[in-house]
């Protein structure tokens, strides 16, 4: 016997435990940790060796010493794994620290795209009149004389023609075609194509040969027409009051109706809303602001389109979209609407993700 084959004393086990614990504590990276692990639990590891040597022990020794060694193995295995977790956590922490970046660096530049105020107002008009059962009709920017004037009870000599400085086109047709001066042409298209009863609005481009601070050669109007057997002037008033109060978001908005004249309506009314001349505030104050024209569709207009005015009657109105927009948003100047100045567009534009929807509020 070159060495004692007697029972391995308990202090051997304690010594191993102490050594491994010290080695683990000293292992500061996975490589050192792995060397410790292999040195203990590997094929040639210290503990593995002790366990192997157990085979030569007496059954009694094997029992008692085996239990101690297995307990040690479990203990060391756990200690090794625990150390591994610590090292992993330290490594992750170090990596994360190494990966730290300046999170104040700017996000990718988002180019803000926005909806033009005119489109926004048109959307709002459509939303409100849509809720009142109107559909949307369309005409043409280039119209014949008849659609713009004749059908609307404005014969060639009518003084109203002189009031509306009409752009004519270079055209072989007699009379030449023109750029519509009002969206009322859509009344005619709808009377000719739709079967009463119907309700329709028509926002669109209009043109007049006029250019100064308050007039643009191109601008936008929205026409409205409602035809039925009992569409009344009282309903015209109700409809416009309902619209104006919804549009200006003021359920108490003051609205006034004054007698006026348009060739294509009778009776005709100008519609004013209350405002404060000094502050420009809409709805309050003792002043009145003309905002749109309206009336009962003239029997001749109906008849020109083959609609018998004894059976059908109705109302029509027209409003300036820029004017409504300027009033709603307190905009002072008309010209920037068409100048496409990025600064103006960004200032007054509307988000595409907040379209005009009544349930979200206008």
């Amino acid at each position: 016997m070159t060495e004692s084959r007697g029972p391995i004393m308990q202090n051997d086990i304690d010594a191993l435990r102490e050594r491994v614990r010290a080695d683990l504590a000293a292992a500061n990276d996975l490589r050192a940790w792995d060397a410790v692990r292999v040195g203990v639990l590997g094929k040639a590891g210290a503990l593995t060796g002790l366990l192997k040597a157990l085979g030569n022990a007496t059954p009694e020794e094997r029992r008692s010493r085996g239990a101690s060694l297995n307990a040690l193995k479990q203990e060391l295995t756990e200690a090794i794994e625990a150390r591994r977790r610590v090292l992993d956590a330290e490594a992750l922490a170090a990596r994360l620290e190494a990966e730290r970046q300046d999170m104040t660096l700017p996000a990718a530049p988002a180019r803000a795209g926005l909806i033009h105020p005119i489109s926004r107002t048109i959307e709002e008009i459509i939303a409100i009149f849509g809720a009142m059962g109107f559909s949307v009709g369309e005409g043409f920017d280039i119209e014949s004389d008849w659609y713009n004037f004749g059908a609307l009870n404005i014969p060639a000599h009518h003084p109203a023609r002189a009031d509306q400085d009409t752009f004519y086109l270079v055209d072989d047709a007699v009379p030449p075609r023109l750029l519509r001066t009002q969206t009322s042409d859509v009344q005619i298209h709808s009377l000719l194509s739709a079967t009463p009863p119907f309700r329709m609005i028509a926002p669109g481009r209009t043109y007049r040969a006029d250019h100064d601070a308050t007039h643009s050669p191109m601008f936008h109007q929205c026409e409205g027409i409602a035809i039925g057997e009992a569409v009344t002037l009282a309903q015209l008033k109700g409809c416009l009051i309902d619209f104006l109060r919804a549009f200006f978001d003021d359920p108490a908005l003051k609205v006034r109706f004054r007698a006026s004249y348009f060739p294509f309506t009778e009776p005709s009314m100008e519609v004013d809303i209350g405002w404060n001349r000094r502050t420009g505030e809409i709805g309050q104050g003792g002043d009145w602001l003309e905002i749109l024209g309206s009336g009962m569709v003239h029997p001749r207009v109906l008849a020109n389109c083959g609609v018998d005015p004894r059976q059908w009657q109705g109302f029509a109105f027209g409003m300036g979209i820029e004017r409504l927009t300027m009033l709603k948003h307190g905009m002072a100047d008309l010209r920037p609407f068409y100048e496409s100045d990025l600064r103006w567009l960004r200032h007054y534009g509307f988000s595409a993700l907040a379209p005009a929807m009544l349930h979200e509020g206008l």
Binding site: A160, L233, S260, A303, S340, R343
Partner: protein, 814 residues
């Protein structure tokens, strides 16, 4: 139409205040444009007697005046050279505001002497330029009376807008009648004084063109003296902006305003023979406005043996007008055809009070009385002996009847108007009841209301079914007078009094407001905005050079543009967007990204108006620390267009791109997008370098989409989706193709190589090899269906993909 309050009171008996009058005018359709109350700023100033004017002890130029302005003697220091004892002047008390300066007058001390007010010059009162001295009033001016009243300035001027249908309200009497009918007082009776005349007129009429002038009256007054008109007449005319000229001319102006009855006065001694009303014969007229007009066959001319003397109903001639030397005057009182007046006036660009009234129609029945009234005033102001009236032609018929049916009025208004009220208000307007029963009432229409029951012909739609038209015309013949009368009743009652009623709804929740095509426009707008493009609204017209540059084959030109650079309709929205971009770049706003949805014009016909969505990106991508900015390229525009097409629900696999975009794009970096072989949906690409240079823009890329060409998406019920459980596989291929081979050919071939398994094809890489050929990295997603793919099956698909790419595009694996 301007008038003064006292002129109104000549015809209207009323206690109403100025505010009441203004409010009523607005209510009944005679919209007040301006009220000028010249007395208001002068209210504090009184007529004063300067009792003494002693030299100021401490200043050579000043005087210390003792002034009596009706409330005791006051000491005032005055610097005016004309201030002197005994004169009558205008006194401003402390606390009053000096109109010219807006300053409040205070009690002050001037060189040691207290001054308790001020004596005013005309300029200080804003009544004139005179500032050489204080106003010097007539010796009999009553002390203590407000100066405005003394000077006749206490008569507010009212200006109203008269709508084209109300020719009768281009007269003070007509306005008074409307106000009386609205309950604001009583219309005073008016009749012309009788004119006693034995002698025949030395001038007679002859009408050769009765369609233009059916009826004319006239008379001479001999032995007149045409001096200045009296102060009251001068004051009335001045107050409404008419310059007093001479008594005879002022009288014609007076009746134009007072009765809406234009008259003309000829110097009878300057006429050569009788007057003929005829067509112009390409002759010239030197008119009263100092201009010369060339009158043709469509102009109605009043002429004597020497030629045209006036353009009838529009403007008189300079050669035969009345002057200070006139001793014999011939007064013309005619009726002209409104349409011919309107067209002739517009043709010659002449706007006169006479034209304005004749083209709206004058009261024919008033002609003899108006001529008598004018004659009487001529005799009263200028003396002279009138002749008998001379006439030619026949008065046009004015008799019309109109019926008001109470039920129809209620149906139109939405509420009933008491029959008695309706009838009474029409009677106050001069309508005379012919018959009346429970249901309706018929009236004689007064001669001055030619807008009521006018009975003009319809202008029906071309090609309307004759039977339908006949019904409609019969309906209009009944309903137009009804509507005419309803309007009168309702406006006098006050349209504000009708109780508003919300529209009844057939469905509580209405159906979709927009059609599918209209919704598409809204969606396109939102999509483009979310992609960072700012929406613009630019003019539909531009300059011809820009239009030509942007491909207009046939320019749609405006015949009467307001400016030369707005004389051509834009052939594409891109044209005006490019101008908008240029304006921004010129303002120092770099890299604009813009879009617009609007019309493009390719012809005059309706199908020549195309609705486009167009976008333009200019310059470079935004500065970003993660990726270097680069110049905008054609694919930026393609990205926008593809995002737009995708959002509109187009089947993207059915689109193809061909290299034949219009000439304003870079020919090598642009494309036409088609659905199928024919249908062009739009274009995209880099703008042509020539356009970029001409507009002084940096490199820019744009796109156009013809919104109306996009087919309506089919509304199909969606089938249940196929969601296989097995994982998809991805295989990458590197193909080499010839440089001119379109990538689309390769991708399409790969996509079509296997119908069932290939679920997606992506190009992940593209570069040019040293020999010039192109390497395309293509990833194919294979989606197994029921069973996992075997290696052999995968190999087979790969082989088919390679073969397809090889066959279609000559592609070989790298």
């Amino acid at each position: 139409m301007k008038f003064t309050l006292s002129w109104l009171r000549r015809h209207l008996q009323t206690e109403a205040t100025l505010d009441d009058i203004a409010e009523t005018l607005n209510r009944i359709g005679l919209e007040v444009e301006e009220i000028l109350d010249r007395a208001a700023p002068l209210a504090a100033f009184r007529v004063a007697h300067v009792l003494a004017a002693a030299p100021h002890p401490n200043a050579d130029r000043l005087r210390v005046c003792q002034v009596d302005a009706g409330a005791g003697v006051i000491e005032v220091v005055c610097g005016a050279p004309n201030a002197r004892a005994g004169m009558k002047a205008v006194f401003a008390p402390p606390g009053s505001v000096i109109p010219a300066t807006g300053l409040v007058l205070k009690v002050g001390e001037i060189r040691g002497i207290k001054s308790n007010g001020m004596l005013l010059s005309m300029r200080e009162m804003n009544l004139g330029e005179d500032h050489d001295g204080i106003v010097e009033l007539a010796a009999e001016a009553p002390v203590g009376v407000p100066y405005a009243a003394y000077a006749g300035l206490d008569d507010p001027m009212i200006e109203i807008a008269v709508t084209p249908n109300r020719g009768d309200c281009l007269s003070v009497r007509g306005i008074a009648r409307d106000l009386a009918a609205a309950g604001l007082g009583t219309l005073k009776p008016w009749s012309a004084p009788a004119v006693n005349a034995d002698a025949a007129s030395v001038v007679d009429w002859r009408i050769e063109w009765p369609e233009a002038c059916p009826y004319v009256l006239g008379r001479t007054v001999r032995g007149v003296r045409n001096g200045a008109s009296p102060a009251w007449l001068q004051q009335w005319l001045s107050a409404i902006g008419l310059r007093p000229i001479s008594a005879l001319v002022d009288i014609t102006n007076f009746f134009t305003i007072d009765l809406g009855r234009p008259l003309h006065v000829f110097d009878a001694n300057l006429l050569r023979g009788n007057l003929t009303i005829r067509r112009g014969t390409d002759e010239t007229l030197a008119a009263l406005d100092g201009k010369t007009y060339r009158l043709g066959a469509d102009d109605c001319v009043i002429a004597d043996a020497s030629g045209a003397l006036s353009l009838g109903g529009i403007i008189g001639g300079a050669t035969t007008g009345c002057t200070a030397d006139t001793t014999d005057v011939f007064i013309e009182c005619a009726v002209f055809d409104p349409v011919r007046i309107a067209l002739s006036g517009r043709r010659h660009h002449i706007s006169t009070d006479a034209r304005q009234r004749f083209e709206r129609g004058i009261d024919v029945a008033l002609m003899p009385a108006a001529l008598d009234a004018a004659t009487a005033m001529v005799v009263a102001l200028c003396g002279g002996t009138p002749s008998r009236m001379t006439a030619a032609g026949t008065p046009p018929a004015t008799a019309r009847t109109a019926t008001l049916t109470h039920a129809r009025l209620a149906r139109l208004a939405g509420e009933a108007v008491p029959a008695d009220e309706a009838i009474a208000s029409l009677e106050r307007l001069g309508f005379a009841v012919i018959t009346r029963n429970e249901e309706s009432v018929s009236f004689d229409v007064p001669s001055w209301r030619n807008d009521i029951a006018a009975g003009t012909a319809l202008d029906p739609a071309p090609g309307l079914d004759p039977a339908r038209l006949a019904d409609a015309a019969a309906g209009a013949a009944v309903m137009e007078p009804e509507a005419d009368l309803a309007e009168e009743v309702l406006r006098l009652r006050g349209l504000d009094r009708i109780t508003p009623a919300s529209l009844p709804m057939a469905d509580l929740v209405p159906r979709a407001t927009l059609s599918a095509a209209q919704t598409r426009v809204q969606r396109a707008r939102r999509l483009l905005a979310t992609r960072g493009l700012l929406e613009c609204v630019t003019f539909s017209f531009t300059d011809a050079a820009t239009a030509a540059r942007f491909g207009a084959q046939t320019l749609v030109r405006v015949a009467n543009p307001i400016a030369a650079d707005l004389d051509t309709m834009r052939p594409t929205v891109l044209a005006t967007l490019a101008l908008a971009a240029r304006a921004n770049v010129a303002r120092g706003q770099a890299d604009p990204c813009l879009f617009e949805i609007g019309p493009a014009f390719r012809g005059l016909a309706q199908d020549g108006q195309l609705r486009q969505a167009a976008g333009l990106r200019v310059g470079a991508t935004p500065l970003d620390w993660r990726k270097p900015a680069r110049a905008i390229d054609a694919f930026d525009a393609k990205d926008d267009l593809w995002a737009l097409l995708t959002s509109l629900g187009l089947p993207m696999d059915s689109l193809s791109v061909t290299a034949d975009a219009p000439g304003y794009y870079h020919p090598g970096q642009s494309g036409t997008v088609r659905q199928g072989p024919k249908l062009v949906l739009g274009y995209f690409g880099l703008l042509h370098p020539g356009i970029i240079a001409a507009l002084d823009l940096p490199q820019s890329a744009g796109f156009e989409l013809f919104l109306d060409a996009v087919p309506e998406p089919k509304r199909r019920r969606r089938a249940a989706p196929d969601l296989p459980n097995l994982q998809p596989l991805r295989r990458d291929f590197a193909f080499v193709v010839a440089p001119e081979m379109p990538a689309e050919t390769v991708l399409r071939a790969v996509r079509g190589a296997e119908r069932h398994l290939i679920a997606g094809v992506s190009l992940f890489d593209r570069f040019v090899l040293p020999d010039g050929s192109v390497s395309l990295g293509v990833q194919v997603v294979l989606q197994p269906g029921a069973q996992t793919l075997t290696d052999a099956e995968i190999e087979a698909v790969s082989a088919r993909i390679i073969a397809a790419a090889g066959k279609a595009a000559g592609a070989v694996l790298r």
